[in-house]
Symmetry: C2
Subunit: 428 residues, 2 copies
């Protein structure tokens, strides 16, 4: 059977999946956690095959490290599943309860989105986390992982799938796509896939966004800025810029551009350059910046660059306004920070910078669902529709309106025989 | 200047638009209401030209009626603007306030989406309503109305634009696209338009959805169902099916398909047919239906049809489950109703039918922002991402995360020197 047919069957099963009780979803999660623990040797054996293939293919050490699924990783994912079990139900939440008229009661109630396609990087733990998030939120999921972890993913998927179907979840709850060409087939299923969540390289995510009519949640770029205002505090500023650039360079919330107010450039730039250089960072900047620090001179257009490496773009600005305009023009609307002791400046920056995260005096690296206390992270969105910034379980739900009547018709209201009285109902 | 360049300038102005105080947005609305009243003769004169052109072009009477902008319509739109003024601010609402750690405070705050493109039918009042909604919600808007009201729209737009810019709104707050070919140009502006809201015929909305990378909010089809359950009440059922089919046939929330439980077909169908026939409705149905009522026999695949006319598809089903499957297969996920006195059946229907609105014992025509008490309606969405069902002002806003720190860095948390304590902050 091809992916399209399987996804169609999944779509047909999705209302059943949406109707599962919280108890049933949590039991499926708990059984999955147990099964993963009890069948761990199978998983490790499959992972050993992936690792050997990676070594033979001479994949970079950083990639090989990511593929590894050992006792420690297993412990992590099992812990993650059990934390997810404890989270309150994202479904059946009453978001609005209103009496429109006598015996005509409207409820807005959260429900799953339906069928979600998730295309993720070569990390076996990702497959487990994503499956668990979809089960908790009552969504059916098509999973496509990186080919470098094919053997591990196959075993993990089999364990999860058998377990949850054994717990009574519908057969169409989860589906694994194993072939790369199946991605394009999935992208064409806009009649039965409700949402796509791609993770991976910028160019890959961009490809997905450009080749499907299915709504996409995620981000292609993370060009994050820190603007050092005239009224900054050196003691706070230095650790923050070092952390934002170097704490984990490969992350999307890493600072890529440092903007510095011209009046403090002479004082701040050499100090910042010293601290960052010690952490291994190299610089690119405007002609003017090169007078203060050792850097490669760059062109204006290059300020769009996301390095994901120990490299930083630097530019001087004349004002808070210029910094804001630069960020809105060259940024990716992800996370941007102002370092200032002036709360008026901070408010103006936060108001006018058009990004999912606007920060004062802290590292851009805080942009993360776990650090925001969401308990689970689906991804980070730079779109403004549906979900923005780090997205927790609520990003996997929508809502429906339930209206309970006793035979009411619209003509009575349109022709003035009855009128709505709109009264909020207390929670039941 | 072409649309692309104008929209780019609008995008640059959108943070200023987002930062306007509620007072300023409301004052712009109030001044607009006054200006429309005081310059009404200009508007009526322009409208007379549109009406004359429509008559000369022999447009159908229903269209000609929709084009009319008279004293009554003016009163309506001015009243609408003043009601919008009274609505509470959709912006700057604190949706989450959480202390992540000492002096590290996270807020999720509502803000405008940014630049919205709205393509609407030939109804001059729509231009005023849409502009007002965007002003209230701090969004910049590109407006493209139907060509049949070009003269009226031009005057209305000039009055609104001059007034609000006179009140201090940024020059890029509103833009009118007057040429049809500008639509395609607008569809390609995915780098500066954040959301498209198309209104109009199904094929037009479908065209928009298929030809842009910009997120689209709206609906192409409205294939709404009523399922008459075994446990129905005849007294409630007859008025509801008549209202749902005939109260306003051109609306998207009109019933297009009637599903009837086989066990009650003999009793219910002739009665329903009588009441509907009196209201002018004709029928199409399966072979079996034609044994009970006078109808044209139709094929299964035709149950996708949206008539928007005095025509109804009829089918018998064996069970609640069959009705649900039919609706999920042939419906458009808009609004579907069950007529039943059995609350278990109602709950099952509402749970499993995958539509924006799921009703018990009332007309599908209630699916409307005003009837839901939203005070203003942006449109009705059959998508599940962002907004679903009738969409009020909240469909024009997103949110951003504001994080206030005192120099915190992620390394301290990643390396265990500090831990998050996640504590909800009381509203300020």
């Amino acid at each position: 059977m091809n992916i399209r047919e399987e996804v169609k069957r999944m779509k047909a099963d999705s209302p059943q999946m949406a109707a599962l009780s919280l108890e049933m979803r949590n039991r499926a999660l708990e059984e999955t956690a147990r099964e993963l623990e009890s069948r761990k040797e199978e998983i490790f054996a499959a992972n050993a095959r992936d690792l050997q293939a990676a070594e033979e293919a001479n994949l970079p050490p950083s990639v090989q490290k990511r593929l590894k699924f050992d006792e420690h990783k297993l412990l992590d994912v099992v812990k993650g599943i059990r934390e997810l079990e404890k989270l309150s139900d994202p479904l059946a939440q009453v978001q609005l309860a209103r009496q429109l008229d006598e015996n005509l009661n409207l409820y807005r109630v959260s429900c799953p989105i339906g069928v979600i396609g998730i295309i993720f990087e070569a990390r076996p733990d990702a497959l487990v986390q994503i499956s668990a998030l979809c089960i908790k939120s009552g969504n059916c999921a098509v999973l496509k992982g990186g080919k470098e972890t094919a053997a591990t993913n196959k075993v993990l998927f089999e364990i999860i799938y058998q377990t949850v179907v054994g717990c009574g979840l519908p057969k169409g709850c989860l589906l694994q796509a194993e072939q790369h060409q199946e991605i394009d087939e999935l992208l064409s299923c806009h009649d039965c896939v409700d949402l796509l969540i791609p993770r991976g390289s910028n160019s890959f995510v961009q490809y997905i966004m450009n080749h499907t009519k299915i709504p996409v949640m995620g981000h292609a770029d993370g060009v994050c800025h820190i603007y050092v205002d005239e009224d900054y505090d050196m003691e706070k500023a230095l650790p923050v810029v070092v952390d934002a650039k170097t704490q984990y360079t490969a992350a999307c919330n890493t600072m890529e551009t440092l903007l510095v107010h011209r009046n403090i450039a002479e004082e701040f730039l050499p100090e910042a350059a010293k601290a960052l250089t010690e952490a291994g960072v190299k610089f690119r900047g405007t002609e003017e910046v090169s007078r203060y620090i050792d850097c490669e001179v760059m062109e204006e257009e290059e300020f769009h660059t996301e390095y994901l490496d120990l490299m930083l773009s630097v530019k001087l600005v004349d004002s808070l306004e210029e910094a804001i305009t630069h960020i809105n023009t060259y940024g990716s609307h992800h996370t941007d920070c102002i370092l200032t002791e002036n709360s008026r400046h901070a408010e103006r920056f936060m108001q006018l910078v058009d990004s999912a995260g606007v920060y004062q005096n802290c590292s851009t690296r805080f942009a993360d669902g776990f650090r925001y206390g969401f308990g689970a992270e689906v991804g980070i969105s730079t779109g403004k529709i549906h979900a923005r910034g780090p997205v927790g379980l609520e990003g996997l739900v929508t809502y429906k309106y339930k209206l309970y009547g006793q035979g009411q018709i619209v003509a009575d209201y349109a022709e003035g025989r009855k009128t709505f009285h709109f009264q909020e109902l207390s929670e039941e």
